[in-house]
């Protein structure tokens, strides 16, 4: 059975590195893996989506509407934006972090402050975490992504592979320790 995961965030939050670690681990676990990311204009502060599918044999690399088993949102409004991808019975892991987009900064649009309430009421399986805050506490907001990865791995029960070794191999050498701490913290959040 193929599992479909969508990671959403804002350009610069590190969704792509997260899927890189995740896909390495899934290959080690013996799964067929396909992941899809869109580069280009989205890096300029726009919404970034990375999609990952794994199972015995995976064909299409992208995930359509109502097909995702899990949405991991690095920013809370992006969880709302990704909702159309979630299938009935699917789950959401979302950070509470808010990043205000330009139309909100200029006052043309409003930020949906209470959107998590709506999501919880409708979806049910919504895990709300403070990964960015934890990452700041650890001294590097950029390890928010690995913190969320910890939560994701725990949620999906993806044991049987040395995730910490993969993180060590993937992140820059000088931030290995802080990322390993973020990973542990993330596991405790889910």
């Amino acid at each position: 059975m193929t599992k479909n995961i969508i990671l959403v965030g804002v350009g610069g939050q590190g969704t792509i590195l997260t899927t890189k670690v995740l896909s390495k681990g899934l290959v080690e676990l013996g799964y067929d893996v396909k992941m899809s990311e869109i580069h280009g204009m989205s890096q300029r502060g726009g919404t970034v989506t990375t999609q990952l599918r794994y199972g015995e044999k995976v064909y299409a690399p992208n995930i359509g509407e109502h097909e995702a088993d899990l949405v991991v949102a690095f920013e809370k409004m992006e969880a709302l934006r990704a909702l159309p991808y979630l299938k009935k019975g699917g789950a959401i892991i979302t950070d509470v972090r808010e990043i205000l987009p330009m139309p909100v900064l200029t006052g043309e649009e409003e930020y949906p402050e209470d959107c998590l309430k709506d999501l919880k009421q409708t979806v049910g399986d919504v895990i709300v975490v403070k990964a960015a805050e934890k990452a700041e506490e650890l001294g590097n907001v950029k390890c928010q992504n690995i913190c969320l990865l910890g939560a994701l791995i725990k949620k999906l029960g993806l044991d049987g592979v040395d995730w910490k070794a993969i993180i060590k191999d993937t992140v820059p050498a000088k931030v290995v320790d802080v990322n390993l701490k973020a990973y542990d913290a993330g596991r405790e959040m889910a």
């Binding site: 992941m35 979630l86 139309p103 900064l105 200029t106």
Partner: protein
């Protein structure tokens, strides 16, 4: 055991080039193709270089392959239009070293101005056409391309699409094949394409293509999978993956990896064995037309959209009654999050200044980060067509405005890399005719939008070696333009920037503005900046929102006061603070 790794299609093409012993690779960056050459450059055995444009890239590769090296040139789909001139004749010259051109098409227009289907170029240019459907095939087809190019003395075009380029799947690595440079032997009859020679070469090309068609009917990348034969699906590229996702093993497949020349006999065999034929392909009816021309009935673009990117869901709803999975909806809607100019971006200074003169100019833009100036609150672009068009469309617009007594002056803009790509020739036209236009060259010292590729204006090349820097301002002056028509400014400094636009509007004839300020994301710029950022004194801020007019993503407004919402990203460029009349803003280090 051979090593298995997870790779994007672009990384796999690069790996394929390495394993095939490619000696020379050239490209101009453009999404979704950019990472091909960036990854090729990681293999030191391949001389890899960014060309000024796609035409130059293909011509350099053509020279290298004629000389005996295996060569690769890559571009996005619209780049192939720029390269079309040499591409239409290369087949006549044929190969010495094998030659592969990669076109990365962008159905769905994630980062493009159109969704042209470049498979048609293979027919037009007499090229062998390959269509891989995942990363493993990207590598395998790349290697095969060189064998075919050399065996049949033709050139190969490989069409990949955004989802093939940017999705990752498992690839088995192999060792490179030792491929020494072939000897160059003069052969005027084969390579100097003047009419007398070209007439003879065209005959050879058609003969060779017939041989390739025979091969296509019996080759390892055009394959059939027979299951139930009530339904037969003919497909290629990423569409194969979507078809498999929807139909699995319940139908039969003809998967085409080589689609020009089209394997006619194979299509006939397949169509005769299956009751109903569906052609599933992204973009135009390229395969569908070939199937119908051979007299077979099939569904195609009558069922599956010609627009955008295909998904398994589109295939499912177009060809079956099976309902999609159910999902959730909520009433609350997210705010829009469009991509924006970065904090500290020099283009912001240009566009903010432009807004002060909006009613006096008609702004025509180009391809690059400055395309983002089209959005709120700048609305700084009324037309954008192609690379270099920002300058030339302006020249034409000036005549049309004159014809209707519209007093506004057209203002065209493009960046340094675009200027080297194809803006220089437009500038020469404007100088030559003293066009009544303002041409703005936004020099941020790098190719920005595609992620910082070196260009003729940088001091280091793709391989990290020092090269002679070509100064775009020198190029402007070399046209012989009068010095008082050229205004070189720092775009962040609004006094300078405003004065340049004002003078350019007031003075008739050609005026050139060169803005010089490096991209805020360049490593050396970030290093120099250190901890420099802006602070707002809330006691002094009167909430006039003048600073917010520059639309910087680092600056926000809450409870009647402006504040720096994203200190880490604020570069302290000081653009916003020039609007503060009460001295509430200071730049601190």
């Amino acid at each position: 055991m051979k090593e298995k790794v997870i790779m994007s299609g672009n990384e796999a093409i690069a790996r394929g080039a390495y394993e095939a012993g490619v000696g020379f690779a050239s490209a101009y960056p453009g999404t979704p193709s950019t990472e091909i050459l960036e990854n090729v450059a990681k293999y030191p055995t391949i001389d890899s270089r960014w060309a000024n444009n796609e035409k130059v890239a293909v011509e350099m590769a053509c020279g290298a392959q004629a000389g005996g090296l295996r060569t690769l040139s890559c571009m996005k789909h619209v780049g192939l239009n720029v390269a079309a001139d040499p591409v239409m004749t290369i087949a006549y010259i044929g190969s010495n070293g094998g030659m592969l051109i990669v076109s990365a098409d962008d159905p769905g227009m994630h980062s493009s101005q159109n969704e042209q289907d470049n498979r048609y170029y293979s027919k037009l240019g007499k090229l062998i056409m390959l269509e891989p459907s995942d990363s493993q095939e990207c590598k395998d087809f790349t290697k095969l391309a060189y064998e075919l190019s050399e065996k049949y003395d033709l050139v190969v075009l490989m069409r990949v699409t955004t989802r093939v380029c940017h999705s990752k799947s498992i690839v088995t690595l192999e060792d490179p094949i030792p491929t020494p440079c072939k000897k160059y032997v003069t052969n005027v009859e084969k390579r100097a394409m003047l009419p007398a020679m070209a007439i003879k070469r065209h005959i050879v090309v058609e003969e060779q293509l017939k041989k390739v068609e025979e091969y296509a009917n019996n080759c390892p990348i055009n394959t059939t999978e027979y299951n139930d034969t009530k339904v037969g699906i003919i497909t290629s590229g990423i569409s194969y993956q979507h078809a498999k996702e929807v139909f699995g093993d319940t139908v039969s497949y003809l998967k085409l990896g080589l689609t020009n020349p089209m394997p006619g006999k194979l299509i006939d065999e397949f169509c005769e064995k299956c009751d109903t034929i569906h052609v599933i392909e992204e973009g135009e009816p390229f395969i569908e037309t070939a199937v119908k021309v051979r007299g077979h009935e099939c569904t195609g673009k009558d069922k599956i959209t010609i627009q955008g990117e295909l998904t398994a869901a589109i295939v499912q709803t177009s060809l079956t009654d099976k309902p999609l999975e159910e999902g959730y909806t909520v009433d609350v809607k997210p705010a829009d999050r469009p991509p924006v100019l970065c904090a500290g971006c020099p283009h912001r200074g240009f566009f903010y200044s432009f807004t002060k003169f909006r009613d006096k100019v008609v702004a025509l833009g180009d391809i690059g980060c400055y395309g983002l100036g089209v959005q709120t609150p700048f609305f700084g672009e009324e037309m954008c067509v192609c690379m270099g068009g920002g300058f030339s469309t302006t020249i034409g617009m000036a005549e049309a405005l004159k014809a209707q007594n519209d007093p506004r002056k057209p203002l065209g803009f493009l960046g340094d890399s675009t200027f080297f790509h194809s803006g220089l020739t437009s500038l020469i036209d404007a100088v030559h005719t003293n066009a009544n236009v303002i041409l703005c060259l936004l020099d941020n010292s790098i190719t920005g939008m595609t992620g910082h590729q070196q260009n003729a204006g940088t001091e280091v090349n793709l391989m990290g070696k020092p090269v002679k820097r070509v100064d775009c301002l020198d190029m402007v002056m070399a046209t012989g333009i009068d010095a008082d028509r050229v205004h070189v400014v720092n775009p962040i400094d609004q006094k300078e920037m405003d004065a340049a636009i004002k003078t350019s509007i007031e003075n008739d004839g050609l005026q050139v503005i060169v803005t010089r300020y490096p991209c805020a994301l360049l490593k050396y710029v970030i290093k120099e900046r250190g901890n420099k950022h802006l602070e707002v004194n809330p006691d002094k801020c009167v909430g006039c929102k003048m600073c917010m007019k520059v639309a910087c993503p680092s600056l926000a407004f809450k409870d009647g006061k402006a504040y720096v919402a994203d200190v880490a990203n604020c570069t302290g460029c000081g653009l916003c603070s020039q609007n503060c009349k009460v001295g509430a803003m200071t730049i601190v280090e």
